[in-house]
Amino acid sequence: MAEAIVSVPATARRGEIIELKALVRHPMETGFRYTQRGERVPRNIVTQFVCSYDGAEILRATLHPAITANPLLVFNAVATVSGEIEFRWTGDNGFSVSEIATIVVN
């Protein structure tokens, strides 16, 4: 299953500010809704997003209900070294998805 799509520039200059994009497939069910039969739809959301660059955590976000399904996160980082950038989403019901992209810094 294609669970996530990430965008990282393939190359960057040292010190350059780069834009990272992370899109994940998730229903983000709020837990506040009811079916037509009056049964509560259980909450099912992504609760944590973590981005690590060359092993070091550079961004951590706590997600809450009322964030859109299939959320897109866009943020910036400073290109420091060549290496891997890892994106990881975790959430309710053991949800866990990760994507890795590599960047060459020169």
Partner: protein
Amino acid sequence: MPAATRLGMVPDLGRWSAALSTILLLGAAPAPETPPHHPAKSGIDYASDDVRRMQADDFANPGMLWVAQGGKRWQEPAGNSGKSCAACHGDAAKAMKGVAARYPGVDAATSELLNLEGRINRCRKDQQAAEPLAYESEDLLALTAYVAHQSRGQPLQVSVDAAARPYFARGREIYYRRQGQMNLACTHCHEQNVGRKLLADTISEGHGNAYPIYRLEWQSAGSLHRRLRACYFGVRAEMPAAGSAELLDLELYLAWRARGLPVETPGVRR
């Protein structure tokens, strides 16, 4: 928004009724051979800037999640044949380029009208010896989006030759037929009130060149037939099933109306 709406149990246009009183109930003009609004303009040209930006950026367009998923399904063996789509068709970027622009089309072997979903299911049944995928299932949406995406930028060009003519004629008849409690035909909105507002929507020319789309209101990808059912619901008409003959005929007529427009799959709509 009512829970059931966001869950997709009920279509989403019940709120149209009040707004519809503003649409003039003009008599439907006799069906012209070449409709107004030609050359055609895509629905994306009537969308807001943020929706346009979302569609234009493959890393922000959530429809790409379905395209990517379809790419995986393309590689997976299915059914008793144990064959994947790729086993026969190879690289989709080559084999499927331009294909979606020719659909719906009449299948020479059976004289049936097939849209892309139907064509894919035909291969599942005949070539893979697999169960057909349910209309609107995640897997069929993903494969359809993936196959159609290979034609992005290609102009729509369906055949309305002798074999297709009866389907086409029925599709056009439906297009100009008043229906539902609102007693409106497609033409009343998508030809006679283009560019005007219906609640928060700007009424477009009603083309299907971007489907399957990611619709923000659905919080999901969806097929053209799902969109058409929403329009039927909006005028409070009985909704034909997704994949039904009525919607297929209409889809052929819509594709002909939209001829020349580039395939945009996966589109984004509000």
